[in-house]
């Protein structure tokens, strides 16, 4: 029996590096990472069968429901190898699975010596997986290629083994075949982790250096920080120091996760565990930072620390203005657990009081919004997402624009916009459709490779702004869902960008302003004015809707004045009914937002700021 029975396993702080194996699983959403992790927990008997539940490691409801992992975890798995019959400690480090969290992924990878490349053998590798694979290779990780879901009727393990072999330069028969669902091949995989992945090689007697690869806020414990000790050791009641800031904290608790927290005397070189210091904000314990001891500590940080930088901004507004204080509270709370989230109060003439929020990317934005709505029970409107522009004015002054309303009205010398390198993987039959989409989004083709006979990797340089606006939805719909996308920022580029304003009866509606490439401004103006004409009910007077660049009108629609609003009859003397109807109508009017004299229903804002694809998605739910 390869599981190590209770109490027999090597203990933290006294585990020799030679028997430690640190690994992560690189996989696309839905390719079965959580299910495989579940089986590993069961086979190594760290979770008893009767306590087992699906996706055991995904803590937040939102993770479980959407099948994605936002925060990583590290689980200590004792394992007696079936090959040499010796005891080992495997640390499985779960990585976040999405492009927005590339930096967090890179830190998780930096905490490992090896990675399982897990691919659904009914679907093949996806762009994000490929991007993370490249990240792992850059970090010199040993890769174990694994085909999952071999139990599925649609499985094509031979085909995708060939694809993986082409990608990482191994032989197709070297790809392991497992089923996370049934458990087939999982014991062999654990043995291969021991056999193929090298043990950690830090200096156990040097000054302590530990890499923070995750930091999570817990209501009861404060911030729980996940670390990989590289050199030396961290012991309970040590005073520790953050190398980026020099801040010192008392270590209140240290331990390992297996898969529930287990307090230990400390953790040694090569080991993975958690520490609690009593800090209340994840910003004080940032992913990528290096921890050392404040006495006889190290002075050189481990490589690769970066501050997370928001890439996408959007205004968040409560539909009911009275919920503004609740929104502030909820953001403050969320911030404790999300070092990348930034926000500041902003006021919109159309939407009232809200916050301009900065996110790592679109998924990050969606997750934050969903958590605010769900956990704080808020109804929110979010304005169309935009990126950060750097605007050089003719007088030489420079402005950073995170909100279209900050875009200067006067002449500008140059506008710089953030660019990304995008990688798209898709069946080759969709090359035309993908290139058409990227071309339309101002993309510059950088290369194309066949990763197998039927699948290609297409690389483009694209403005980030083009990706944040329904690019992914378009890509999915043009490739019948087969294409996958990954992107990374690669700096900025000057662009011919203008601000398009939308005016209702001559008044600017700030929530609808957008910064758009000159060539597309006309299209935006036409679409938006048309959309609003359909969404805004007729008023007692004619309402012109205009799209304008500065003072130049580029599109125009008209909402004709309402001509009839009267109930002709008296309902046989039922005056009460008539009065109640009037009161109901008055209530309805109160829920309207006033833009000048124009009454705009809440739904019009929501619908106008939502892309058609999002609307369709909501309808289908």
């Amino acid at each position: 029996m390869p599981a190590i029975k209770g109490g027999q396993a090597p203990q933290p702080l006294s585990t020799d590096q030679s028997i430690i194996r640190n690994f992560c699983i690189i996989a696309h959403i839905d390719h079965g990472k959580s299910t495989l992790a579940d089986r590993m927990l069961q086979i190594t008997e760290v979770v008893e069968s009767r306590n087992m539940r699906e996706q055991y490691l995904d803590r937040m409801d939102i993770e479980r429901e959407r099948g994605i992992t936002i925060k990583s975890q590290a689980v200590r798995l004792p394992w007696k190898s079936g090959i040499d019959q010796k005891d080992y400690i495997l640390n499985m480090i779960d990585t976040p699975g999405h492009v927005d969290f590339t930096y967090e992924v890179s830190r998780s990878l930096a905490a490992c010596e090896g990675a399982i490349l897990l691919v659904d053998c009914a679907q093949g590798i996806e762009a994000q997986t490929l991007a993370n694979l490249y990240l792992a290779l850059e970090n010199n990780l040993t890769i174990i290629p694994v085909l999952n879901k071999i139990d599925l009727p649609a499985a094509q393990p031979d085909k995708f083994a060939q694809e993986l072999a082409n990608l990482i330069g191994c032989k197709p028969e070297e790809c392991m075949r497992v089923s996370g669902k049934t458990g087939v091949g999982v014991e062999e995989l654990l043995d291969q982790i021991v056999a193929q992945i090298p043990p950690p090689s830090g200096n156990a007697s040097a000054a302590a250096r530990a890499l923070i690869f995750d930091s999570v806020y817990d209501t009861y414990r404060g911030v729980v920080t996940y670390v990989r000790v590289v050199d030396g050791q961290l012991k309970a009641r040590d005073q520790i120091q953050m190398l980026s800031t020099g801040a010192k904290h008392e270590m209140l608790e240290v331990g390992v996760i297996s898969p529930e927290p287990v307090v230990s005397k400390g953790i040694g070189a090569g080991e993975v565990g958690y520490i609690i210091t009593g800090v209340k904000d994840v910003r004080q314990s940032r992913v990528g930072d290096t921890i050392t001891t404040s006495i006889a500590g190290a002075s050189t940080p481990l490589a690769g620390y970066k501050d997370p930088k928001p890439m996408v901004f959007s205004g968040l507004y409560p539909i009911d203005g009275a919920q503004y204080p609740l929104l502030r509270e909820a953001l403050d709370k969320l911030r404790l657990n999300d070092a990348a989230l930034v926000y500041e109060p902003e006021t919109s003439a159309a939407l009232g009081f809200g916050f301009r929020c900065g996110f790592l990317g679109l998924l990050h934005m969606e997750i934050v919004r969903e958590r605010l709505e769900r956990e704080a029970n808020l109804d929110l409107i979010s304005t169309a997402p935009n990126v950060v522009y750097r605007v050089m004015k003719e007088d030489g002054k420079e402005i950073t624009v995170t909100n279209p309303s900050e875009f200067p009205d006067g002449k500008v010398a140059e506008v710089f916009e953030p660019m990304v390198r995008a990688t798209i993987l898709a069946p080759s039959e969709f090359i035309g459709a993908i290139m058409e989409l990227c071309q339309d989004r101002r993309g510059e083709l950088k290369g194309m490779d066949y990763i197998s006979e039927e699948r290609v990797e297409i690389r483009y340089i694209l403005p980030l702004s083009e990706i944040v606006f329904d690019f992914f939805d378009q890509l999915k719909s043009r490739t019948r869902g087969y294409a996958s996308l990954d992107y990374e920022p690669i700096g900025e580029k000057p662009g011919e960008l203008v601000k398009v304003d939308i005016l209702l009866q001559g008044e600017k509606v700030d929530a609808f302003s957008a910064i758009i490439h000159k060539d597309k401004s006309y299209g935006y103006g036409v679409t938006m004015t048309e959309k609003l004409r359909k969404l805004i009910p007729r008023q007692q007077f004619e309402v012109p809707i205009q799209a304008a660049i500065g003072s130049r009108i580029i599109a125009r629609e008209n909402i004709r004045a309402m001509r009839k609003d009267v109930l002709a009859k008296c309902y046989g003397g039922d005056i009460s009914r008539k009065r109640k109807l009037l009161e109901k109508q008055k209530e309805g009017k109160k829920r309207m937002k006033m833009v000048g004299r124009v009454e705009v229903p809440q739904e019009a804002f929501i619908a106008a700021l939502t892309t058609d694809a999002e609307l369709d998605a909501k309808k289908n739910n």
């Binding site: 009267v566 109930l567 002709a568 046989g572 009065r579 009037l582």
Partner: protein, 382 residues
Amino acid sequence: MARQLSLYIHIPYCTVRCGYCDFNTYTPKELGQEDGLEAITSNYLDSLLTEIDLVVKQVGKGLVVPTIFIGGGTPSLVSPKNYHKLFAKLKESFELNPDCEITMEANPDSLTKESLTGYLEVGINRLSIGAQSYSPHVLQTLNRTHHPENVKNSVQLARQVGFNHINVDLIYGTPGETLDDWKNTLTITAALDIDHISAYALIVEEGTKLAREINTGVVANPDDDLMADKYLFADSYLKNQGFEWYELSNWAKSDGQCKHNLAYWQSKSWWGLGPGAHSYFDHKRFSNLKNPLTYSAKVKNGELPIATQELQTDEMAQVEKIMLEIRLRSGLEISALPDPNLLGDLDKEFFLPKPMEDGRLVLSPTGRLMADSIVRKLSAPL
């Protein structure tokens, strides 16, 4: 002056139900009664007589009645003989004004010279004939079964036997009705020897057959702009033909205004008799049980058959005054507004320029079409 009380009498029966109608009316089949309408209405009359006794017990004997309106349903289903009994009871219970206006709604198919003479003899002195339209396809959409020609015949007969006041009811805005259809209906109606025309925009009421047909796309939704055009045409055409508007949906020749109708809009007291009838009395608005059978049972038990009741607060009275009087040619006094400054937010075109000077607001034709918006605005502080 003695206290005045108008009376509304509801006849809740029809031989068939029209597709647009959500009034409180029943066909014998709907009530599950095997008896013919004659027997049903005769029984029903007994309940009415009992209800009158109960009302008199409540309000006292001898109140002066300035107007009576018999509506339905189809009041012309009740025979003159039965009305004779009803009026004997009314005269014994109240003091009917010598010039008491007594209106009965009538279906043009059911009127004969004989029945008309009978109605006149029992005291009914005003007829309201439901014509709705002269376009066969419009009548079909509305499920009206009468022959358009019968409207003209009924009017002629009524005039012959001596009715001096006759109204014709019209509906505009039925799906499929063109502006020309409507002009034709108005032309024919205005040429009749009548002194009053009511023209109501079709309201698609939830739960009616017409609403179902619109929801399922069998017939088109009425078009508000076309309705507005029809209203404006009606107002100017009828004026040329000698019918002046005096209430949003009502036009009359001189001396032809319906006093009972005005009583509603001027918040005068009235008592509604019969199932589902509404009343306004002593600062209360209340209504009777809707089902004729439960209504009769309650009355026979010696109780007023009241189902709902609402005490009118000062604030409610103020909103209702604005809501009701703004519809009248006589208009609403500006001093009744909670905040006259709100007038500044409304288009001046909505009001007649002249009467505004002597402290009253009177709506222009375009203003009348927007009356509900205007009332919402003006009553906003209440």
